[in-house]
């Protein structure tokens, strides 16, 4: 009966992408990991029991569901799904500290940028200065209030919330302490908020607006504008440095 059941070895193998761009297949099972002898029997039609999945080293690609044995790639390599190419695992020495530092920088810049003038405009003796709050509140007529909330969220509130959640999750891990309460929920939330924090898109919007206005009046970008440019850049670097599987595993370990 068990002949029809695929053995543990027939799983596809993860691709580990070397930094030089060459690709090779990492053995799904490394020599030092011997499968349990009763393993084949346990791959019954009913799948695994709860207790068994607790112990497995199985991961599935979140984008295409291909199943793998988890293989830890060398530093500077990353494990990608051999079917759809999604990066599954890219642990880096010290990456948590890097992400923490970036997140802290973003938070400081966000708070600072609020207090400085963002853009000012001069036209025939008249002058107007906008702060980030003014931009967020520009849709403040009654019918537009939901839009004010959305814009304020996308450029200020959600980016700030995201980095605060990341700091909250990573701080105890870096200090070798057990995670703070609700750390898993916090990290999950910060991952879900990723597409809704739109600082870099906002910067593009500012660039377009400046071009639109410059024929009409004299515009000067203020300190807050440059802070936003820098923080958009750092937020992008932070996302690139973060390997979410590594963080999940770290949260699980403690």
């Amino acid at each position: 009966m068990h002949d029809a059941v695929p053995t543990r070895y027939s799983l596809a193998t993860l691709h580990v992408l070397k930094d030089n761009g060459r690709c090779f297949r990492a053995g799904a099972m490394r020599g030092n990991r011997t499968p349990r002898s009763s393993c084949d029997d346990r791959w019954g039609m009913a799948g695994l029991t709860h207790a068994e999945t607790q112990q497995t080293d199985l991961i599935a690609c979140p984008k295409c569901d291909a199943l793998y044995h988890e293989v830890t790639p060398d530093d500077d390599d990353r494990a990608i799904c051999s079917r759809c190419g999604t990066t599954l695992f890219a642990p880096r020495q010290g990456s948590m500290l890097t992400v923490f530092a970036y997140a802290l920088t973003v938070l400081v810049l966000l708070f600072a940028a609020v207090w400085f003038p963002f853009i000012s405009i001069d036209k025939s003796g008249l002058h107007n200065t906008s702060s980030i709050f003014d931009v967020a509140l520009s849709f403040s007529s009654a019918a537009m209030v939901p839009l004010t909330i959305a814009v304020g969220g996308m450029i200020l509130f959600l980016p700030a919330l995201r980095v605060m959640l990341i700091l909250y999750v990573l701080a105890p891990l870096l200090a070798d302490k057990p995670p703070l309460p609700q750390a898993a929920l916090s990290f999950r939330l910060s991952e879900q908020l990723r597409p809704w924090a739109m600082v870099e898109i906002f910067i593009l919007g500012v660039a377009v607006a400046l071009v639109k206005v410059h024929s009409l009046a004299h515009v000067t970008p203020g300190p807050a504008f440059w802070m936003f440019v820098v923080l958009a850049l750092i937020a992008t670097m932070q996302d690139r440095a973060a390997c979410s599987l590594s963080i999940w595993k770290a949260l699980e370990r403690r």
């Binding site: 107007n128 593009l204 377009v208």
Partner: protein, 201 residues
């Protein structure tokens, strides 16, 4: 045939990649809901898609910007605003607005509908191509918000009493809604469904 979590009677967490026995409803590692794509299907995708489309129509008919100067009052829609920029020689910026506000949203409606319909239809584009299409749609959709931010910046900045003032028009609201709704539509599309058919074929 590739082994998948589903083919082994498991369910994978899309947040942290851990696998669990089918039937479990929450991931034991990260706490995310484990969603069985066969049960949820495409209803959410189509619901958000349709709502987004309904918002996109008024977004193009009503004015996005209301510009008032000493001698004139002007209302411009998305397309008219871009045309005006091109008239002034700012072709690059006009192109950004056209791409972000017309090409991306329209392309997105078509792409999501194509992906959702071709789960049953199959052939024409390989699974790899369709997966790439999905990744592009998921990545690029949020950039449409750029025009809403332009309107927000202009209407907060250009408030020079009687000389010149710019205020948002109703299209700013419906356009932003359309972008948000289509983002939700793309997010609720489970890309694993693209690959499920391989296993059945």
């Amino acid at each position: 045939m590739t082994e998948t979590a589903k083919s082994r009677g498991l369910i994978a967490c899309t947040t942290c990649a851990r696998v669990w026995p089918l039937g479990q409803d929450h991931c034991g590692r990260c706490g995310a809901a484990l969603i069985d794509r066969d049960q949820r299907g495409l209803q959410a995708v189509w619901a958000w898609w349709l709502a987004g489309l309904l918002c996109y129509i008024p977004a193009n008919i009503y004015p996005m910007l209301r510009t008032k100067t000493l001698f004139s009052y002007d209302e411009s829609t998305i397309v008219a605003g871009a045309a005006e920029l091109a008239d002034h020689g700012s072709y690059g910026v006009a192109a950004i607005i056209i791409i972000a506000s017309i090409v991306i949203p329209v392309g997105k409606f078509i792409a999501i509908a194509y992906l959702a319909l071709n789960l049953r239809d199959r052939r024409r584009l390989s699974q790899h191509r369709r997966h790439q299409l999905y990744e592009v749609v998921d990545f690029i959709g949020r950039w449409s918000m750029v025009d809403v931010f332009v309107v927000a910046i202009l209407s907060s900045l250009i408030q020079l009493q009687d000389v010149a003032s710019i205020n948002p028009g109703p299209a700013a609201m419906t356009f932003a809604l359309s972008v948000i709704l289509t983002m939700l539509s793309a997010q609720s599309f489970d890309s694993r469904m693209i690959w499920d058919r391989e296993d059945q074929a």
